[in-house]
Amino acid sequence: MSAPATRVPPAEGASAHDHPQSANPETQFRHDAAVKSADLVHREIIRKNMESYDVGHMKGRSRFLDWEAAREACQAIKREAINHLDKYLLQFEENVTARGGHVFWAANSEEARKYIADLAVKHAVKTVVKSKSMVTEEIELSAALEKVGCTVWETDLGEYIVQLRHEPPYHIVTPAMHLNRTQIAELFRDKLGEPDLPEDPQKLVAAARRKLRKAFFAAEMGISGANFLVADVGAVAISTNEGNGRLTTSLPRIHVAVTGIEKVIPRLENLATLWPVLATSGTGQPVTTYGTLVGGARRAGEVDGPEEFHVVLVDNGRSSLLGHPEEREVLHCIRCGACLNICPVYRHIGGHTYGTTYPGPIGAVLTPHLRGRQFEHLSYATSLCGACTTVCPVKIDLHHHLLHNRRDFMKAGHGKTGERLQFRLWRAAMLNPKLYAMGGWLTRKGLRAIYGLGLSGSPFDPLRAWNRKRSTLPVARQSFREQWRKGLGNGR
């Protein structure tokens, strides 16, 4: 854990994720949130993107006879998996290793990085192609591979775009959501060496295809994530649209699937429910174009396929959540992104501001458990509106978990001293109606005086945090109880 250093205003598009040593996460967050929430161009881009998602998503839901029944079924599948995680993970491992695959249990990011980097060195890997995996972002894998001399190519188009810009992904499903075609065209003209590339999305995609195709065919190692680990058949299930996940797991000699331990599901048939629900929540599609199942390296008699298959199971704090009966369901997350899409906070500050691998509501709930108290502020940077909870396809009670995070932080004594004192005083007043009424009367008198002098929003204003951003809070002359006493109680 790095020592907190002086604050660094982030470069355009960058955040603490890019500069982990540069600032205390909360300070960086506040800075970035202030900048982004005032950025109306950004707000409009996000709004348009999310509107498009909303339309597709609602259309997708209408394909279900009973969407709520599907959510409940997904919740039940993940609950069974997580409540018996050890059993299903072991079953998965058994099935994979029985067919010659390798399963590595990584306690933390470092162990995972080392295993994969060592593998790359052992096999003289020079080129690595990666399909989308948030866990590989979490463990900061690319840098570790580059250190041992590999060129790492992100092949998911959105990930490739942000890689070229040296940025973290903006969103867990649509990494380049914050960019428009003009920006992407400029980027490609510069980085792909195609100066005449038009702004047409189709041509831009074709350009990326041309460039990345060379990498696919040259790579010695392909790294994928996993959407699900199917225990009964010992297979990694990967849901994609672009075909990059397919090429990544077909062409290179070595396939490494990197995954959190919580991705396990009991049975292959569970995918009949999870595949459509994931696609509906993620993009509004009935299913993603490719639902890939990989159970091992190429077998004797098969035409092609990798010679080696490795699954890296990453813990990195997840098992501590397992031990928490109230919070355990947070591990049900299937990383669909629906909570990000509906979250009004996300829509106003964007994905980079969070400074975490996982942004949005799930990120706010999860990150303090994975990365510690430095990220507690995320549980407070929310109005607890509950929209996330209504859309989560596995019915995680997200906004109540945020509330519980707050409770747990205060119980652990992490509240700021000044605030704790304020609430002690508040409590004393609320337990004593006379004190409450007197305090209320005095406060109103004081505020009216301060505002009468035109000092609203100034350092003399106890409510300046409110009044800085809004018109001055109206302060009533008479409280309700005073009016009640003065005759309202008698029906006047």
Partner: protein, 244 residues
């Protein structure tokens, strides 16, 4: 059985927005219900609870339950405060000797529109409000109490009132309790979007069942110098003529 309700006036309504409670009393009396106000009440504990200080919220909650002992029907003109009593007291007071009383109290506590439609059985409360109004579906009322049809039904029955829908009317306005001051930038950005949606709807007024949201939205409307105003549902229902 006498038709009587015990009024639960949220602390900030009492001190900052008393007209919401005054108008609530007006409406209840107009439809023939007697109103009592137990002056011993202060705060239900929500601010401390929401901020994570459950040990400070708990004694306030316990006291609150005691204050309303014996009240048959409790009415509150706030979705968030009603939510506190009905949805969160059971959790907050899980280990408390007052738990079962708190549970019972929650069952007898109603947000105003909920009370009018489901308990009093009235939709037309004799209100007159000849203005264009848009409805903001405040979060607690919507997602914790599952209320939306009730306030809308009451609004549709108001004489002269024209109801228009605004974009993203179910999106949070950004108040969020202490969030409004702890993360004022984000809160006001969300409020800004809400205010802009109000104006785009063409409405003269935005209404909701949560006075805290309205306080925040009003602050944003005024800061932008928009003409539209925020008004609590109770004030519309209490109105018997033009303007409020």
């Amino acid at each position: 059985m006498p038709r009587k309700v015990s009024l639960f006036v949220p602390c900030f309504v009492d001190q900052l927005l008393p007209e919401v409670a005054v108008d609530t009393v007006t409406v209840l009396r107009r439809i023939g219900w007697e109103v009592e106000f137990r002056e011993a009440q202060t705060c239900c504990g929500q601010p401390a609870f929401n901020t994570g200080y459950w040990d400070d919220a708990r004694p306030c909650a316990e006291r609150f339950v005691r204050v309303f002992e014996g009240a048959e029907v409790i009415v509150c003109p706030s979705g968030s405060c009603t939510t506190m009593l009905r949805n969160f007291y059971p959790e907050l007071l899980k280990e408390s000797p007052m738990r079962s009383e708190a549970l019972a109290m929650g069952q007898r506590t109603y947000e105003l529109s909920e009370f009018l439609v489901k308990v009093a059985g009235v939709i037309d409360v004799g209100a007159v409000f000849p203005h264009t109004v848009t409805y903001h579906a405040a979060c607690h009322g919507l997602r914790e109490l599952h209320l939306q049809q009730e306030p809308l039904a009451l609004l549709r029955a108001v004489q002269g009132l024209k109801l228009v829908e605004m974009a993203r009317h179910e999106e949070c306005c950004g108040f969020g309790g202490t969030f409004a001051t702890k993360f004022a930038d984000i809160s006001s950005a969300m409020g800004q979007s809400k205010a802009e949606n109000v104006v785009a709807s063409g409405a003269e007024y935005v209404t909701a069942i949560d006075p805290s949201c309205l306080m925040h939205v009003q602050g944003m409307l005024e800061k932008n110098k928009f003409a539209a105003k925020a008004i609590h549902l109770a004030s519309i229902l209490a109105s018997q003529g033009a303007g409020a």
